[in-house]
């Protein structure tokens, strides 16, 4: 079954023709060329595919593209104001060496931003570790990811994002 789908991605209106079975992540990667969102598993556990739909983190591998009809999607490509001005979470990941191979990074950053906001910019290490349950990283041992998120929370608050 082929369906027309339209949504807003990173502030731009987009549309396309998809099969009913097309996942949102496939629409983003294959139709829109937004390959920053990754697929690392088929069981909804690794979190490499996390994006924001209407302001909330979701796993874009576990939602059909047609289900995002009319929605506002933000991906890793849509976070930075410009090449020189990254989102405070991106900046914190860089400052704290919270990424190595980079594959889990987009999902980590998207989950982390949602986490900071959901917890009203107030986080402690235990909360960060618990709330990263849905994001796997095989490189960093999480140490620097946790540090980065703790550093980003006040920075996000100060920046008003």
């Amino acid at each position: 079954m082929t369906i027309n789908v339209a949504m807003t991605v990173n502030g731009k209106a987009v549309s396309g023709k998809v099969e009913a079975r097309t996942l949102l992540v496939q629409f983003l990667r294959e139709h829109l060329g937004l390959t920053g969102t990754h697929v690392g598993c088929d069981t909804s556990q690794c979190g490499a595919c996390v994006v924001h739909l209407d302001g909330k983190s979701i796993k874009s591998c576990t939602i059909l593209a047609v289900q995002a009809e009319g929605g506002k999607v933000t991906t890793i490509e849509g976070l930075a104001e410009s090449a020189d001005k990254l989102h405070p979470m991106q900046e914190a990941f860089r400052e704290n060496h919270a990424l190595q191979c980079g594959f889990c990074t987009p999902g980590m950053v998207m989950s982390a931003i949602d986490m900071v906001k959901r917890n009203n910019y107030q986080l402690d290490e235990a909360t960060v570790r618990r709330e990263l349950e849905g994001n796997l990283c095989r490189c960093t041992g999480y140490h620097n990811i946790v540090k980065a998120i703790l550093a980003a929370a006040p920075a996000m608050k100060a920046a008003g994002v």
């Binding site: 690392g40 490509e77 191979c101 235990a126 349950e133 796997l136």
Partner: protein, 789 residues
């Protein structure tokens, strides 16, 4: 300028911008016009004869372009996948080398063995069609249980390997070791299973290939740790495409940990088939396929004994190991449980006599090969488990027993009884520092406090040694390795003074783009932002042997140093000419050539410009241009060492183990970028913790089905499974490479399993529990405590 960006500085990574903004380019991200998509139909059986394969219905499915089976690859006379390391058994005979067809022809030997390749206009259509292929299997009994693999009557995996034995290998003189044991005051004995692991780099393996009919050139994009070696294997052994007609590109790669060293079926088929179908082909593994078909790691069964004299000095060690090879011999599989394992059994100790016997067995399971640490984690686990167990039995402090037996700092270079000669090291200050950071003195009061909360608290040491920075080519050759182990580099200045550093090493998380740039910035005084490190493409970079065995910096970085030396040497000649001075009088400091005792100075950039615009240039004596190559073949392995201390709390009601403290103090020689090194240590420790507490590849012993075939059943370490780590350094520079560096990529994973398991054994010892197998999952610990089912 170089103080902030040179050797030793915590430079932020150059590669981060693209990864943080979603603009990295991994294999699956590549847009290829008119691409087709491959899906591999795989054996659902661990062992079966293929009676027939009927692809007719599948070929008629929508979108299908072509289907290939083992009959096609056999008709094309495609070579098999190779094992590149010939291990000679204890009688001097080369190991048994059963064939490894790229597509299973008449027999399937593990669940996941590829049977048919479907190529279609979309990935979904390829998979749809694969379901329409009819394969008639004659299912046979499988050999899955390693403990029975070599027993009489166990089904054989290959006719070429009678009794499933690949080799029976030994090192050391058994009679001497037995004699030492006969005189021992105390003998500690352990039976150890080193659990099988699945690497699970977060990016699944992927391959894409295209063929240019006009030139006859092939291009393969692969998730490879070593594109040149992959090309060499495909060219020389498997596909017969001449090396100069095959370009292999490893673009951004999402982690490897060993699993992406090897030459695999899928990338081979994608390359070959791209020419057959005349369109690009893309393949990306689903995670389920990664679980089934990525080369697994570890999987040893070992009996080990340590003999001590009355003063608790180690007299001798003997080790018997059965190592699982899986169904086929993967690229480096044979070397892992021999030269990368048994040669490390001396650890940090003066044990004068060591004997090890290793039997490699094939089973109806996925191939097993190098995984982060590769042999050295297994060796460290044996040695450090033995030492801690001996300390328990003898009621001595585990740190004291270690210290008593450490190789003393004045003994280096130190020849071990198992072939290696350690170049440098100073172990006592490392354990001292680790104990200080971990507050070892305060442990007993923490244990008592935990007890008041109903928790069992324990502390464990792991003092590891590793041989890495592989390796002197001639030594590798003598041991049966099929390749050289040098690295190459090219420093290519542009006329405007910026630099491309081309390296044969590939980075897939290791941060070469930053670390290598730091070396060049430091050495040549070029601002780091003017340096670009280029890697991963056989068309543009010098030949590289690959990124594994913690070798990129020690070997690849040293090649860059040599190339930089050549730049300086040539620059001196140019500068001497420009300054009308003698070359012997020119010195190079902070990026500038000077004549000592004068104010004459030529910045490197000016010399480079003169080399490209040679209007005032000694053309009679010197070629124009500034583009220097170097190859570096190391004189020895490098020997990082360290001590980890792990502290755990066990909930005896549930068996759950929490790591409450983890300290690692390492000697990696000189450190180029401490921020990056710490990141490597954190990640390595977490993989080691994963092995100790969580991860285990489990096959059904009867059917050979992989029971831990997804993240639902294979427990990956998550953020709340580990604490923040405490790290420290001690530095004894490597004496034989120009950077004085050792290697840091594998250390964490090598040492951590023993640290964690020793802590667990310490925690349960007061309640009389002697043995907890690895991984110490909650159920396993609970069963050990309660003797339950």
């Amino acid at each position: 300028m170089t103080a902030e960006t040179g050797i030793g500085a915590r430079v932020k990574r150059k590669e981060d911008q693209r990864f943080l903004t979603g603009t990295g380019r991994y294999v699956d991200d590549l847009p290829l016009a008119r691409a087709t998509y491959a899906y591999f139909l795989r054996s659902p059986h661990a062992h079966a004869k293929i009676k027939s394969i009927d692809t007719a219905a599948a070929k008629a499915m929508p979108g299908v372009v072509e289907i290939f089976t083992g009959a096609d690859t056999a008709a094309a006379k495609m070579g098999g996948l190779i094992c590149g390391w010939v291990v000679k058994d204890k009688h001097g005979q080369p190991h048994k080398a059963p064939p490894h067809p790229v597509m299973a022809a008449d027999t399937v030997r593990y669940v996941g063995d590829p049977v048919a390749m479907v190529i279609a206009n979309s990935a979904a259509e390829a998979r749809d069609a694969a379901e329409a292929i009819k394969v008639d299997y004659d299912v046979k009994p499988a050999n899955v249980d390693l403990s029975k693999a070599l027993a009489k009557g166990t089904p054989e995996v290959h006719a070429e390997a009678p009794g499933n034995l690949i080799y029976d290998w030994e090192i050391g003189v058994k009679a001497d070791v037995d004699a030492a044991f006969a005189k021992a005051a105390h003998v500690t004995k352990l039976d150890i299973v080193n659990n099988r692991l699945i690497p699970n780099a977060m990016e699944p393996r992927a391959a894409a290939a295209e063929y240019d009919k006009g030139t006859g050139n092939y291009t393969l994009w692969s998730t490879s740790q070593n594109p040149h070696v992959l090309r060499l294997i495909l060219s020389a052994f498997v596909l017969g495409i001449p090396e100069h007609k095959l370009r292999v590109v490893a673009p951004d790669v999402g982690g490897g940990f060993g699993s992406k060293i090897f030459c695999y079926n899928e990338e081979t088929m994608v390359t070959w088939a791209a020419a057959k179908v005349g369109r690009p082909i893309k393949w990306t593994a689903e995670r389920a396929e990664s679980f089934m078909t990525d080369a697994h790691g570890r999987d040893h069964i070992t009996h080990a004994e340590l003999a001590l004299d009355k003063d608790n000095k180690f007299l001798a060690m003997k080790v018997e190991t059965i190592a699982n090879m899986g169904a086929y011999l993967s690229t480096f599989s044979t070397a892992v449980p021999t030269y990368l394992y048994a040669t490390l059994l001396a650890g940090q100790y003066t044990t004068p006599l060591i004997y090890a016997n290793v039997k490699a067995a094939v089973t109806h399971t996925a191939p097993v090969d190098a995984y982060r640490g590769a042999g050295r984690p297994e060796a460290t686990f044996v040695v450090e488990s033995l030492v801690s167990a001996a300390a328990k039995e003898l009621k001595v402090d585990p740190a004291e027993l270690r210290r008593k037996n450490f190789i003393p700092p004045e003994a280096f270079p130190y020849q071990t009884p198992v072939a290696l000669q350690y170049d440098s090291g100073n172990y006592p200050p490392i354990i001292d520092e680790a104990m200080k950071i971990a507050d070892y003195k305060g442990f007993e009061s923490r244990r008592a406090e935990a007890k008041s909360r109903g928790k069992l608290r324990g502390i464990g040491f792991s003092s590891y040694i590793e041989a890495c920075g592989l390796a002197p080519s001639q030594v590798i050759g003598q041991l049966g390795g099929g390749v050289g182990q040098w690295e190459a580099a090219q420093i290519k200045f542009n006329p405007t003074g910026n630099v491309q550093v081309l390296t044969g090493s590939h980075s897939h998380g290791q941060s070469h783009e930053t670390t290598f740039a730091q070396i060049v910035s430091d050495k040549l005084g070029v601002p780091i932002e003017n340096i670009e490190v280029v890697h991963g493409d056989t068309a543009t970079t010098p030949f590289g042997m690959g990124t594994y065995g913690s070798r990129s910096l020690a070997v690849g970085g040293s090649a860059i140093m040599k190339a930089a030396d050549k730049v300086i040497a040539k620059g001196k000649k140019i500068a001497a000419h420009l300054m009308e001075a003698s070359v012997a009088d020119v010195v190079f400091e902070n990026g500038t050539f000077k004549v000592a005792g004068t104010d004459k100075a030529v910045p490197l950039g000016q010399a480079v410009f003169a080399a490209y615009v040679p209007h005032n240039y000694p053309l009679q004596e010197l070629e124009p241009g500034m583009d220097e190559n170097a190859f570096y073949d190391p004189a020895n392995f490098v020997y990082p060492a360290g001590t980890q201390i792990c502290e755990v709390e066990i909930d005896p009601d549930t068996g759950a183990t929490e790591i409450v403290n983890f300290t690692a103090v390492d000697d990696f020689g000189n450190v180029i970028n401490p921020m990056i090194v710490e990141g490597q240590v954190h990640g390595g420790i977490t993989q080691g913790v994963g092995q100790a507490l969580l991860e285990c590849a489990v096959y059904d012993k009867d059917t050979g089905q992989l029971l831990s075939g997804s993240f639902n059943d294979y427990a990956m370490p998550r953020a709340d499974d580990v604490p923040s780590f405490k790290t420290g350094y001690k530095v004894t520079p490597c004496p034989h490479n120009p950077l004085g560096v050792k290697g840091c990529g594998e250390a964490g994973a090598i040492a951590a399993p023993a640290a964690v398991m020793n802590a667990i054994h310490d925690a349960v010892a007061p309640i009389g529990v002697k043995h907890v197998p690895m991984p110490a999952t909650p159920q396993t610990v609970w069963q050990a405590i309660h003797g339950g089912k």
